[in-house]
């Protein structure tokens, strides 16, 4: 089994400093929707300047390099124990090189480990064995500001008049966006999971954020709700940074899970505009970055 530490380090560098093309494209399109001279337009212009600068200098797009969330799909025969060790070594090195901020703080003793390594929970690494001979590693960096405004609803919710159906889902998601205001670094991207238990629901609301922007949901009902939610959220007028404006949400992604008869959870993971996610594929002796 090859040592992928250097390649994973490169994946981390790219993820932290180089915003994916689909996200940048959406941000560029949003600028034109904001009034010339408005604070909203100024915010988006600064954001785009920052995106270019970070890419040029290999510096973090955002100083909050977030929770590193790795999803590894490995063919039969790979050692997840070794892959975990390689990911951890690469992350510590990336922190030393200032691609990442030391972000792992022991919650009981309030001590920052200094190298981004906590217990087995930090970084978060998920392994899945897959068929075929390709290994893929996906990385998402999700900052604390947007993570803090994530929300979970248990339906029915009488405060917003939400019943146990997609109409109810629409209501609670709009409520979550209004409550978030600019706190999660709007314009944001919404990851929504319907069903599951409290844990699996929140997790799925993050996993759905690995999807590319603009890709259509295979379920026509969910595809329609995704479009409707992004459109309606943008009528709230919260705007970039909460300055007021047309662009509050860039995209919405929804996924469904099985639920217990008694439970109907809707989880909303809010992703900031600095939507950092990258993928690497290992095929024979070749490593390809997206």
């Amino acid at each position: 089994m090859p040592d992928l530490t250097d390649e994973i380090l490169e994946l981390i560098r790219r993820t932290s400093s180089d915003l994916p093309a689909d996200v940048e494209k959406r941000l560029r399109a949003s600028v034109e929707k904001e009034a010339p001279g408005s604070a909203a337009r100024g915010a988006l212009e600064t954001i785009l300047k920052n995106v270019e600068l970070s890419r040029q200098n290999s510096t973090p797009i955002c100083q909050d390099t977030g929770t590193p969330i790795f999803y590894v799909k490995y063919p039969e025969g790979w050692s997840t124990r070794k892959l975990r060790a390689q990911i951890r070594t690469a992350l510590a090195e990336a922190t030393k090189r200032s691609y990442m901020r030391p972000n792992a703080v022991d919650a009981i003793y309030d001590k920052n480990s200094g190298n981004n390594l906590g217990g087995d929970d930090f970084p978060y690494i998920h392994f899945d064995e897959v068929e075929g001979d390709e290994l893929t590693i996906e990385l998402m960096l999700k900052g604390g500001g947007c993570e803090n405004i994530g929300a979970q609803y248990s339906l029915p919710d009488s405060r917003v008049g939400a019943g146990r159906d997609l109409a109810g889902v629409r209501k609670v998601v709009l409520d979550a966006v209004q409550k978030a205001q600019g706190q999660g670094c709007a314009p944001g991207i919404l990851g929504v999971a319907i069903g599951g238990d409290r844990g699996s629901s929140y997790l799925a609301s993050k996993e759905v954020l690995f999807e590319k922007m603009g890709s259509l949901n295979a379920d026509p009902k969910l595809a329609a709700l995704e479009t409707q939610l992004a459109e309606e959220a943008n009528t709230l007028g919260i705007g970039p940074m909460g300055f007021g404006g047309q662009t509050t949400v860039l995209d919405t992604k929804i996924t469904g899970l099985s639920r217990l008869p008694a439970s109907y959870f809707v989880s909303v993971s809010y992703m900031c505009w600095a939507y950092r996610r990258r993928k690497m594929v290992v095929r024979e002796n070749e490593v390809i970055y997206d």
């Binding site: 803090n148 009528t235 919260i238 940074m241």
Partner: protein
Amino acid sequence: MREVAIPISDDVIKSLKVGEPVTLTGVMVTGRDTVHKWLVETFIKKTRAPQGDDLQVYEALKPLLAGGVIYHCGPVVSGMEAKPPTGTMEYKFVAAGPTTSIREEPYQADVMKHFNIKGVIGKGGMGPKTLKGCQEVPFVYFHAIGGAASYIAQSVTKVLDVYKLDFGVPEALWVIEVKDFPVVVTMDAHGQSLHAVVEEQSNKVLQELLAKA
């Protein structure tokens, strides 16, 4: 764009209005969650006895903060290892955007008043207690662009000092020199808050949307 030099006088603070973009030049100090809690518990409410170098740091902070600016920021800093052979530190801000300010809502007004701080920089805005403090102290809330970390780090010309590094790099008090640091006034000393306005208007739209279907 209007340029504001730090330290800032009360007259200048009172002349700043919500919506105005300004650039800041001078010396400021970073401080976020751990710092605000520590300041309030140790020196303002005094529910915790000073420990270690607490009192020395307090004395060093007083002149830096009087008339000054506190920045809600947990930076990425390079040069964290001493340079051989002299052992000197060459800290540099690599990425330094604002963090969400609302978490400091319980503490902010008290900290501003205690040290006579004239400006707080962050993102997302703050609540009624801080807005009341803006009028009383007086001070203003400057909004920086969240996530624009590489861009903002370019305005940090020098890292002058660091206190409480044992809080961790993001939570330490970094004393920095900035030039043309770009911000927008979103809460002023006259009781105006852009955040309160946007929240109220968006809530009105939300209620209309919830009434449908």
